[in-house]
Amino acid sequence: MAICLVLVAAGCGKNNNEGNSGSKENAGVSGEKVTVNFMHLWPEGVSAGQNKIVNQIIKAYQAEHPNVTIKQEVLDNEQYKNKLKVLSASNKLPDVGVTWAAGFLQPYVEGKLFTPVDDLLSGELNGKFVSGTTEAYAIDGKTYALPLEFNIAPVYYNKALFEKYNLEIPQTYEQLKAVAKTLSENGIAPIALGNKDRWTGSLWYMYLADRIAGQQTLSGAINGDGSFMDEGLLKAATEVQTLVDSNAFVKGFNGLSNEEAKSEFLNGKAAMYMMGTWELPNFTTNEDIPKEFRDSVGFFKFPTVEGGKGDINSWVGGPGVGLFVAENSAVKAEAKAFVEYFVTQWGEQAVTGAGVIPATKVDTSSMELPQLYIDLFNEMNQASSITLFADVQMQASAAETHLNMIQALFGKAATPEKFSEEHDKAVSEGK
């Protein structure tokens, strides 16, 4: 027993030395035995599909590079975020890890904890990414992580319910309101919205803002070049409250979580549900959900608003997670090589194996995919612009204000003017 302990302790000690010395930087390509620590958030229980793919990729990589061992550390989403924070405070980040874009990334980049990966982008991966995806990970002209997923948010709807009440897919905002009115009169909740989580309501505001004020105005206001007091943006906020007044959203939406709202949609009690493409497996391949329901789910693009500046092919969305390489990793070269390999392998396997829409371009023609996927893939490729989720894009404190104000706006605790004022204040403070 004592010997075991000594061995374990010695093992730890050795690893730590490797991790901290930094003397072997860029030396590993020569064939020396190296270990790359990889921390991710796809545990077997929760994300079985992703977990399997990760293991396959690692196995293949190790077979190709016998001198490299990839050591995994797997955590749940929330625990992952917390651990990353703790590790970065003591400067002991794993060599490769998972990160989110923009606002999440910023403090890590400012703390010089992630290393730029632009060299990878200009290498083998050049042109492989869907346009607009890597930009979300760029700060001051340098890219600090490579995206794995990309999502846009369509409005899913229940075809059976639409048929029952003779409803057509709304092409304009007025039609959307008419659809909502008919549904509501027949005792069906028109739109499932779990606004306890706040970012869910943010999607609705962002689309209205995009369609009324235009993409440029919206992103200008978010990054601080413009103002939320813009006439179009104020009108978008007003329209949110109009929708609330006309009972377009499910009852008690401000107290419901996204999961609860989703179950209203899944139970056929609500007819529409706006959510990211990460929900696609639930509407296509997930066996836990009745086939009858899955078959009756369709999607439509957020309709245009008469007189608005936005066009129907403009989307709200954003990259999910990406991979970073730690700045003070002792095995930077191997870590980068692994990230490059991982991203190339991930694309195709992720679509078929886990229902994830990858950030890299994938040829869908040769794949057996549910129609809903193919349609959304095509939509994504002909998108005129994609606005990043506001709460991802903004700095943490401004994002918090944005989310709180969204809930206040939907709950009619704030006027559109107050909503815009608070936003401008938060954005300018964060600059």
């Binding site: 403090p107 009852k251 008690g252 401000n254 107290g255 419901l256 943490a396 709180n404």
Partner: protein
């Protein structure tokens, strides 16, 4: 043995391990929290010393004072509910039929984890499928409120499960204290012709006074730093209508990445709890404690 225990060095040796642990786990973090509160820090990068800025900002922060008001309301309600618990405990301790069963029924909520309770009550309060609204609708109330989505109702809707959660705990404490009163006292009073109310008021109450004082402190301080059900059920929403001090601290530190400000809130919360405890002890202090004799 007595000789060993009178040796100061030996005493120190025995006390040391737990003392070190408490220092490392409780007191040092408190000091550090107070110090972090003096800095601007996003939890990741370098800290910048800003002196008392965070604490001064705290005094002007209306959101904080709103959440403090909500915490205070909870404390008041838990304080008041203690009276109810005491009455229940007295009834149970009076050897009525089925007292044992009731004691267990009251205790069950305490055995459930907070998250399970939160999920349970989320189902009860669900605006359309919830038990509560279904019952109300079947009784003829058209359009019952969405309990957790209305700013004016949400706080009180949350108080109910919170109080329910701890009822068993206080009832158990009172029950034990009441059972400790020697039966001879009650018998003597009965012989002297005292009725049940008089026995409760004049004999039992004074004898469990010390326990009541402790429970008041527990209830009030526990309410001031309350977090779990609120975090799971409403996350402080809608629009901060159910935000309490602890959830506000969490949001500032872990959502807005303002660890400096979050720490300041945390430290201030500690100060408030200490002050309130001191005030309660002062107010309830009595010169002569009544003993069984």
């Amino acid at each position: 043995m007595d000789k060993v225990l009178s040796n100061k060095k030996i005493i120190a040796l025995y006390v040391l391990p737990s003392l070190l642990l408490i220092l490392a786990i409780v007191y040092i973090p408190i000091v550090l929290t107070a110090y972090y509160g003096l800095n601007e820090w996003n939890g990741i990068g370098a800290m910048t010393f800003v002196g008392l800025d965070n604490y001064l900002a705290l005094f002007k922060d209306t959101t904080f004072w709103n959440s403090a008001w909500h915490s205070l309301l909870l404390a008041v309600f838990s304080g008041i509910s203690l009276v109810l618990y005491l009455i229940v405990a007295m009834v149970l301790a009076a050897r009525i039929k089925g007292a044992n069963l009731f004691r267990k029924i009251y205790l069950i909520p305490m055995l459930l984890s907070s998250v399970a309770i939160a999920q349970l009550w989320l189902k009860i309060y669900h605006p359309t499928n919830g038990v509560l609204n279904s019952v109300l609708e079947s009784l003829g109330f058209a359009n019952p409120p969405a309990w957790l989505a209305e700013s004016s109702l949400v706080l009180f809707a949350l108080f109910i499960p919170i109080l329910w959660q701890y009822a068993g705990f206080y009832i158990l404490i009172y029950y034990a204290a009441l059972k400790n009163i020697p039966a001879s006292l009650e018998e003597a009073a009965k012989i002297d012709g005292a009725n049940a109310l008089q026995i409760a008021w004049k004999i039992k109450l004074p004898l469990v006074m010390e326990v009541i004082k402790v429970t008041i402190v527990l209830a009030v301080v526990g309410s001031l730093k309350y977090f779990d059900l609120i975090f799971v059920m409403t996350d402080g929403g809608p629009n901060g209508a159910s935000e309490v001090m602890a959830s506000y601290m969490y949001h500032e530190a872990f959502r807005a990445y303002d660890f400096g400000y979050g720490s300041a809130i945390g430290f201030f919360l500690l100060v408030i709890c200490l002050a309130v405890t001191w005030v309660i002890r002062k107010l309830t202090a009595s010169k002569d404690t009544i003993q069984y004799s």
